[in-house]
């Protein structure tokens, strides 16, 4: 057995070591300052949320001093700026629901099919060519979509549906659906791609076709991710403004008929904002009140969506 002893010379004293030691405190101080700065930046995200909530709550609270919450949530007439002011926001809510539902009926199936096609069927080369196009579709400004809905889609629809008014929820919803297709498709595709290749190989090795593999293995494995795509897509539609403001008409209309014109929550906000905002008036506060409702709805959908998305990440 070897005998060992400690000590001796050794190359231990590096020329920089003294400096390293003396600089330790300076270094740590600097590191801490930087970390603090970065933390403040990260905390800005929270600050923005707090600011949003605070502003909305503050203005809305004065609104609710004049308007009862019950009327606000259950009334079917919304005419806050007129002589006979009514503050029932159901018409706006229904407008929002109907346009979002139409958008979802377009974007859900289409987005799902596209995601499945790109992740399971398309030759990789083709998928690489098609995907940027879809992403571009998501990049088109919404005002352009609004223009498209009003001046292209609506006239087209009027040829198919006689008597369709010039402003209607159908056209706005359809175009909005097209707008969120890439968004839904990309989240759903992410989820499907997260399914490990090993599962697919397992299925193919049994002699399954692409369709069988997609439906019986990939889809169940990515199910919650696909659901997340749907939910987040709906949340997008609920918050979309310019398309509905331009193409759906801006008249609060308590109807579920998609052929009718109607205002959504977002459309009401821009409509009021387009005039002047008489700071402090009930009209001014009303947009914050409905804005609050909008935030609550989108937040709700978003939380569900994130939860579903996280679940699929946890599994794989």
């Amino acid at each position: 057995m070897t005998t060992t002893d400690t000590g001796g010379s050794g190359s231990f004293s590096s020329p920089y070591l003294d400096r390293i030691r003396t600089m330790r405190h300076v270094r740590n101080g600097k590191e801490r300052v930087i970390e603090a700065i970065l933390f403040v930046a990260a905390f800005c995200a929270v600050a923005v949320t707090v600011a949003i909530v605070a502003i909305l709550l503050y203005e809305a609270s004065t609104f609710f001093e004049h308007v009862s919450l019950v009327e606000f949530l259950t009334g079917t007439e919304w005419t806050p700026l007129f002589e006979r002011a009514r503050y029932g926001m159901l018409p706006l809510l229904v407008g929002t629901v109907v346009t979002s539902a139409i958008a979802f009926l377009v974007a859900g199936p289409l987005g799902f099919l596209i995601a499945m096609y790109l992740s399971e069927f398309a030759p990789p080369k083709l998928a690489e060519v098609l995907k940027p196009f879809l992403e571009l579709l998501a990049g088109v400004p919404t005002i352009v979509y609004g223009y498209f809905a009003l001046l292209f889609v609506t006239p087209l629809l009027q040829k198919l549906i006689p008597g369709l008014p010039g402003f209607n929820m159908l056209s706005a919803g359809l175009v909005m659906g097209l707008m969120i297709v890439p968004y839904v498709a990309s989240i759903a595709e992410d989820a499907m791609r997260a399914v490990p290749m090993a599962l697919r190989e397992g299925s193919y090795a049994m002699g399954a076709t692409r369709f069988q593999t997609a439906m019986w293995v990939v889809l169940p494995a990515s199910f919650s991710g696909v659901m997340a795509a749907f939910v987040l897509g709906i949340s997008r539609a609920v918050g979309e403004t310019m398309i509905v403001a331009i193409a759906a008409g801006q008249q609060p209309n308590f109807t579920f008929d998609p052929r009718e014109p109607a205002a959504t929550i977002t459309a009401y906000i821009v409509q009021v904002a387009m005039g002047d905002l008489p700071h402090g008036s009930i009209g001014y506060q009303s947009i914050f009140a409905v804005g609050l409702v909008l935030v609550v709805i989108t937040l709700f959908f978003n939380l569900i969506g994130q939860m579903l998305r996280r679940r699929i990440r946890e599994v794989y």
């Binding site: 007439e77 919304w78 005419t79 700026l81 007129f82 002589e83 006979r84 002011a85 009514r86 009003l150 609506t154 009027q158 008014p165 010039g166 402003f167 008409g249 801006q250 008249q251 609060p252 209309n253 014109p261 409509q271 387009m274 005039g275 002047d276 905002l277 008489p278 700071h279 009209g283």
Partner: protein
Amino acid sequence: QQKIVTIDGSSTVYPVTEAVAEEYQKMKKGTVKVTVGISGTGGGFKKFCRGETDISGASRPILKSEMEVCRQAGIEYIELPVAYDAITVVINPKNTWAEEMTVAELKKMWEPSAQGVVDNWKKVSERFPDHPLKLAGPGADSGTFDYFTEAIVGKSKSSRGDFMASEDDNVIVQFVSRDVGALGFFGMAYYMENKDKVKAVKIKKDENSPAIAPSVETVNNGSYQPLSRPVFIYVSAKAAQEKPEVREFVEFYLQHAAKLSREVGYVDLPSQAYELAMENFKAMRTGTAFGGVPDVGLKVEELLQREKHL
């Protein structure tokens, strides 16, 4: 220090002011900047009385409540009429039954008690067919809306709320042009540009008066009643005194208003009206000729001579 003239207010007056601003800035070779916002008459006055703007466009006279706000903020103003407009009631070109309407019929459609009730032409009058009625008009911040309700319903801002309200008159054109049962109203300029898409309703003051269509002549000769109206700019006296560019701009405005308002589709005032206005401005005669209550069917020369009050 940059020289900026800030203007906001009526969308009806906007085309005239925009034209003047454009010409003026051209003349000044960009040394003076003019911004023209579109907030509607009411919105414009709110900013004006907060001292945010130098000039406010208005398609109706200033209201009592607005006068009060201005007074409290110490804002004095000079009221200057710049053109005539005829609020035009429009229907779909395929609508054959409502080419002529009385003020009473319009009232029946628009008064607050119609809200949620009058939703069919039949409910307006027996002579109309059984067809759904769809209404569109400028929003609640609009002077056109105020004037229309004053003239038709009898009380400013008094209207039903369940119509398609838009500050954007073009939206109203679209609305009416695409629905046979639709009816809307806006400034004449929009009608002139969209004669192919919408049809103007001839207005009868009452059962027995003749039906008059809006046009330059009927406005000028005072027969298109009660929907002819002068439109104004209100100039802050303080700005006019302290900012030479504001003074210069307003003088430029009054000199060119006749030509430019014709150009953008409005009816110009008689030339002595502009002279009188210029006189009033130079003399800094502040206040409004109206007591804060719009006077329907007034002649411009008349009001220019009137006693002013703040």
